[in-house]
Amino acid sequence: MLTGKSLVAVAAFGALALGTAVPVAAATPKNTLVEAWTIDDMISLDPAEVYELSASEVLGNTYQRLVAYDLKDVSKIYGQIAQSWKVSADGKTISFTIRPGLKFASGDPITAADAVFSLQRAVKLDKSPAFILDQFGLTKANVDKMVVQTGPMSLDFHMDKAYAPSFVLYCLTSTVGMVVDKKLVMSHAKDGDLGYNWLKTHYAGSGPFEIRQWQPNQDVVLERNPNYSGKKPAMKMVIYRHVPEPSTQRLLLQKGDVDVARNLGADDIKTLKSDANVKFEKGTKGTIYYLGLNQKNKYLSNPKVDEALKYLVPYKSIADTIMGGLVKVHQTFEPDGMLGTLDKNPYDLNVAKAKELLKEAGYPDGFKVTMDVRNTQDITGMATAIQQTMAEAGIKVELIPGSGKQTLTKYRARNHDIYIGVWGPDYQDPNSNAQGFASNPDNADNSQNKTLAWRNAWAIPDLTKETDAALVQPDPAKRATMYEDLQQKVLDKSPYVIMFQQVEVMGIRKNVDGVIVGPSFDNNLVSGVVKH
């Protein structure tokens, strides 16, 4: 009697809990694009502060800059809010003219005052990306005199030196150069914050979409901007949902509850290849995977050892098998899609050759080192594979796992032996990576300039000079040659084993067209998306 009743109760509750056949609507609305994406890095929506991948992409779809580059041919720069520009004879001033008739999403007209305000504001707020503008000699103190309005629709951008115009323009294409609505932002300014506390979570731009809502770690919602000057998007809404787990993203995509899955793993991609409802969109991104070899370590400071290590990475099997096509082999420090990229991958896994080099270095039996490894699936997978091949040449690598911030803290303190790192350019110009990999103005422990070369304690006065020289070369073709030369030198002899370049792969429902995977993180664009 007792057991019978309990049984019924248990069964009934179980059925209620699991079997509630509530009709669950799949398929997203026709006029809405839904993406499953990991967006927990997002900390701000203010162009003067945004530096994170996800927020950059959101801004790329919602703001406009003075100038932008052609996604298919990055060497072509065109005016977005600027109609034209002119470089002065001494090369120290660029004068911009604003395109007439443009409006912000708020309905306010776009004038030179907005552009001047945006650039001055970014320098004055001095958030993470401000250094991109500071490179031209702009400081909080002088920016009012360096970026000046010369008419209702014109402005001058002064610099302390005659930098290569291509360098300046590329820098202005980054998110920190985005133009914000001065009137709207200043109406929310408080205690001299230039509207910072408001814009951090709000929107004041002129792009194809406007940002309607951001709930940290939950979602970002974009809505079509009725005042956009260009071709109006077909989508009324774009929703980025925070879905941290790749397998969950895959299930959502397969089920049709999202249109795009952004962070699929190698296994998920393999599974989805047989799904008739799913296709893929790929694009190489600027992110470079490399090993940083600390020159403070007695073994690693030997150039023969560094060269040997370049022969001890199973490049192909990592790219194809472990990463499942999410990276491609790339061994120079400028990624594909950058001015002056050197397309050369001379190193391959060759244990015999590495052993020979180690013998010449005086370590025929190898040695012991540690490697700091960020505890994400991709980095851990790579590190484990490299550990195995290095062991074949007698090098015992001890892997030290840690969170991204933890390993980075150690790297920046130069306390590592080998650091397996990921590096992306700050803006679409070769100078960004050259500054990182091939410049070290001060190798002292208390240096203010913690470039990658500094972090690996690599003193390179000559290369630093060459990097600086490329910065002021006005002729783009000559400039490109200078970067090719720098890359060749770093490829031949450096404390880096540069291994891969990231390939971004999006899983997309078959009925969705027009998702663009651009070369940089801020130009994965959705304004041209249509659904059939």
Binding site: F13, L18, P216
Partner: protein
């Protein structure tokens, strides 16, 4: 708890109720202060540069220095702690580095998600776990007992990550019985007015029954899964409490008097087993309310577990401390609740003997 009450009754210095409230207040204050202090220290000891977490890898030296000063890291640790504690006493938990928002706002947005999921789970865990445990005890050694034990063992030992994915694959992707990851479908997302932050409650209050059922279809799977885990524990504990009670002399007396078996089990034995059981359930609920990081990750459930883990990984100490405080306070509150229930269930406690 019962011991405290006993001692108090003997001393008789304070009226029992008043004394208990006072004790509780002191207990609460000491617990939370201790929690804060330890968490604060951990945050300062982890090998992560909190400035780096705030400004990113590429910030200039001047930006770095500015934030270093803003975060108060130039001051000695004890001073940093005192400043923080002072802010907390004034209701200011500070700003999160990761989300850029006040920690209080963040917690107000993530905690209801966890609360809803945990409550759903503990209801399932209790409603199935207690009868299953009673049943197993009554049928000790029989097939039913073995079955409950095996089910409990599976619940204990199967990794929730795996079960969660399997559940999604089966009930969501294949059968389509339940909603997928997330708290509610896209179609309803913008229609729900936030009142309590609990989806089921908010939709019900507004009478949006379509949205209610949609939210229900989303919570069913993660809720049942977590419920299964607490059920495993609750049923094992119920079984052993019941076995202890069923062996007592008053049960034999009741049987001799001819009391029905149903009444003996549910009326007498369970009534007495319920006292320690309340603590077990309250503890299970407390653990659930810390947020189940893995479940939250798989089901894209924006709860406090994920928030706390993310924050800790980035040394976002304001967020970590704020979340710890809330979880700590919840634990203490649950203790209080269990304590109050004791009074209702156990006449001895009520009389303060």
């Amino acid at each position: 708890m019962t011991e405290l009450a006993d001692q108090e009754g003997r001393r008789g210095a304070l009226p029992p109720l008043f004394g208990r409230i006072l004790r509780l207040a002191v207990q609460l204050a000491v617990t939370l202060f201790g929690l804060l202090f330890v968490t604060f220290l951990i945050g300062r000891v982890v090998p992560i540069d909190p400035v780096l977490a705030a400004v990113g890898d590429r910030a200039s030296a001047s930006t770095y220095h500015k934030v270093y000063i803003e975060l108060g890291l130039d001051k000695p640790i004890w001073e940093q702690f005192l400043i923080y504690a002072d802010h907390v006493l004034h209701g200011d938990l500070g700003k999160s580095v990761l989300t850029g928002r006040p920690v209080l706002d963040d917690i107000a947005s993530v905690f209801p998600a966890t609360l809803e999921l945990s409550t759903f789970a503990i209801l399932i865990g209790t409603c199935i776990g207690v009868p299953a445990g009673v049943w197993a005890a009554v049928r000790q050694g029989k097939l039913v007992d073995q079955l409950v034990r095996v089910l409990g063992l599976v619940g204990y030992s199967a990794p929730i990550f795996w079960l969660g994915l399997l559940g999604l694959l089966f009930f969501y992707a294949d059968l389509g019985w339940v909603g997928g990851p997330g708290r509610i479908g896209i179609a309803y997302q913008f229609d729900v007015t936030r009142i309590t932050g609990l989806m089921l409650v908010d939709t019900a209050l507004e009478g949006q029954w379509d949205a209610f059922w949609n939210a229900f279809s989303h919570i069913v799977l993660p809720g049942s899964l977590l419920g299964y885990y607490s059920m495993a524990y609750i049923s094992r504990m119920t079984r052993s409490f019941m076995l202890a009670e069923l062996g007592q002399e008053y049960i034999i007396t009741a049987r001799v008097k001819g009391v029905s078996e149903w009444r003996i089990v549910w009326g007498h034995a369970l009534r007495n087993a319920a006292v320690p059981l309340v603590t077990v359930i309250a503890l299970s609920y407390g653990y659930l309310l810390q947020g189940a990081v893995l479940t939250e990750t798989i089901f894209a459930w924006p709860g406090i577990g994920m928030y706390l883990t993310n924050s800790l990984g980035s040394a976002d100490m304001n967020a970590v401390l704020g979340a710890t405080l809330v979880i700590g306070a919840t634990f203490v509150m649950l203790n209080l609740l269990a304590d109050l229930l004791y009074t209702l269930l156990d006449p001895r406690v009520r009389r303060g003997q």
